[in-house]
């Protein structure tokens, strides 16, 4: 019990530190409030250029994605991508940036669980990034760029169910950044691979069949389908009950496995003296 208390104390301290550093910069509101509105537009404008003024060039997209509402499809995908991305990478890259500015070894010698540093960063990401995503979704539906037909509680349940998988993924990624001092390449590669495989910025129908099968086994793809079907088509949670069970099962397995991986890496890093140095 005491261990759990210490873990959460350290996590909240890390989250507080991260939130203070984010709010330290005057431009924080741009990245948190303006960027989630601007970024999806990049893809919407590109799609509009391809679709034409009155959807003359949309046939192939509609066949692959199952909807002619390309704006909603692309915006929801991009907002989800942005939200998951920030949680997944922030914790891992925070370790890397602490190493770069020379405080990682100091943090590492503190008498607190190291996993809490990563978990704390994930909490700060969720706190800072969740409301902007909600605000931008509300904005896009108010200006009638997306058609919002979902039940909000369904969306909340889907989002809570994906968190164990995302946090597990974050712990595994953090282990990698602890071992490797050049994490950028891996970050960008995995980001793009996930974005493609999970159909976040494009319809997965565009991928070869064997990749589509892999894609449908990743919880993020199913989560994305649930969100899109709820918001665009107004489908209730009963349509996606099997997906929800799958997301939760894989999520918990990933979460537990990731703790084991992190602990093993922590030991290895300590033995090999890989903490300091950049």
């Amino acid at each position: 019990m005491k261990k759990i208390k210490i873990f959460f104390q350290a996590s909240f301290a890390t989250a507080k530190k991260d939130i203070i550093s984010i709010l330290r910069y005057k431009t924080w509101f741009i990245s948190v409030l303006v960027w989630p509105i601007l970024m999806p537009y990049t893809f919407v404008f590109l799609a509009k250029g391809l679709a034409g003024p009155t959807n003359e060039g949309i046939d192939n997209f509609a066949r692959l994605s199952g909807t002619t509402d390309y704006s909603s499809f692309i915006i929801l995908g991009n907002l989800t991508w942005m939200f998951l991305n920030m949680i997944m990478w922030d914790g891992g890259l925070k370790l890397n940036s602490s190493r770069r500015i020379g405080i990682l070894d100091t943090l590492w010698t503190a008498p607190s669980p190291r996993l809490a540093y990563v978990f704390g960063s994930a909490i700060s990401s969720i706190v800072i990034n969740f409301s902007p995503i909600v605000i931008s979704t509300a904005f896009f539906s108010m200006v009638k760029i997306i058609s919002f037909k979902a039940n909000i509680f369904d969306l909340l349940i889907y989002t809570l169910s994906i968190l164990p998988f995302i946090i597990g993924f974050l712990f595994i990624f953090s282990s990698l950044t602890l071992r490797s001092k050049e994490a950028n390449l891996v970050v960008h590669a995995v980001r793009v691979i996930l974005s493609i495989l999970c159909g976040l910025q494009l319809p997965i129908g565009v991928l070869p069949l064997f990749l589509q099968k892999i894609s449908l086994s990743i919880p993020i793809t199913l989560y994305m389908n649930c969100i899109r079907d709820s918001i665009i088509k107004g489908q209730g949670i009963s349509y996606h009950i099997n997906s929800l069970i799958y997301i939760l099962t894989i999520g918990f397995i990933t979460f537990i496995a990731s703790i084991v991986v992190f602990k093993l890496t922590e030991k290895k890093v300590k033995n090999k003296g890989l903490i300091s140095g950049y």
């Binding site: 970024m39 537009y41 590109l46 679709a51 034409g52 949309i58 050049e182 950028n184 793009v192």
Partner: protein, 281 residues
């Protein structure tokens, strides 16, 4: 008088050389980064390519034809991508280099050297320019042979446009570096300025798809005309404004944009030194 100018020129090249050497040493220290420089544009483009593919599998777009008069989306997009990458690299090279030096705590030391600070950031960006060329050539080859994106012969004949364009983009870059010195948070500034200078200038899509107020903003950014003119020459697409007017706007911007950039940089540099905020981040 002559000696004074010689010494200034020597001084300029000395700073550029030192900056290039510093960056080269970093590349040797982190060799994986040199692979990353080539792969970055591919990573960045792959989801976009697949999205384009989902609309126009053969690269021919009816929608684009209606907006611009050409239906060749692959070369249309590739021209925008080349210009966009160029813009991004100069922005990152000038602005982010300063932030990185702030983070690792050496900017204040470098700023106290008896060098012209403007020369220093130009030096940083020249290294970046070399890196950009390396990455551009690699990505054009990969885009050609892996994804089937191609450039027309006319594009290569129109490459001279990049000379005035480089001058303008350096003006923007110097202005941007000054913003970093002032506001200290490059990620957000890079995101927003990339959106403004890349998306709103029509590097990825025709400007005609924007709502009217965004078209007005787009037409007030000189970069829009460089991209449009390159596409007009390469793909014979419809120009946004009459060609002569576009040429006049581009010519004026070659003088005005760098002047504003340099003036603003000098103002911020002086202000930061007076307030002692160079090393703070």
């Amino acid at each position: 008088m002559e000696n004074k100018y010689c010494s200034k020129a020597d001084h300029f090249f000395l700073v550029i050389r030192a900056s290039l050497k510093k960056n080269l040493l970093e590349i040797i220290r982190y060799p994986v980064n040199s692979i990353f420089i080539v792969l970055f544009p591919i990573f960045w483009t792959l989801p976009v390519y697949l999205l384009i593919y989902s609309f126009a599998p053969d690269g021919v777009s009816k929608g684009l034809q209606i907006y611009t008069g050409t239906d060749l989306f692959f070369p249309y997009y590739l021209i925008g991508m080349i210009v966009g990458l160029f813009i991004n690299q100069v922005f990152w090279g000038m602005g982010f280099a300063l932030k990185r030096l702030m983070d690792i705590g050496v900017l204040e030391t470098i700023w106290s050297y008896p060098i012209n600070h403007l020369h220093f950031i130009i030096g940083e960006s020249i290294y970046n320019l070399i890196e950009t060329l390396y990455s551009l050539i690699a990505s054009i080859l990969i885009m050609r042979f892996v994804f089937g994106f191609y450039l027309t012969v006319e594009f290569f004949k129109a490459l001279y446009i990049f000379i005035p364009f480089t001058i303008v983009i350096y003006g923007f870059g110097i202005f941007f570096a000054a913003l970093i010195l002032q506001f200290k948070d490059p990620n957000t500034l890079v995101d927003i300025s990339s959106f403004t200078v890349m998306t709103l200038t029509g590097s990825q899509n025709p400007v005609q798809v924007f709502p009217k107020f965004l078209i007005a903003i787009s037409l007030s950014i000189p970069v829009t005309y460089f991209i449009d003119y390159l596409r007009v020459l390469s793909l014979n697409s419809k120009s946004l404004l009459p060609k002569n007017i576009e040429i006049i706007i581009m010519s004026i911007s070659v003088i005005v944009v760098p002047l504003i950039g340099i003036k603003y940089f000098k103002y911020v540099d002086k202000k930061c030194r007076r307030l002692g905020t160079i090393g703070i981040h």
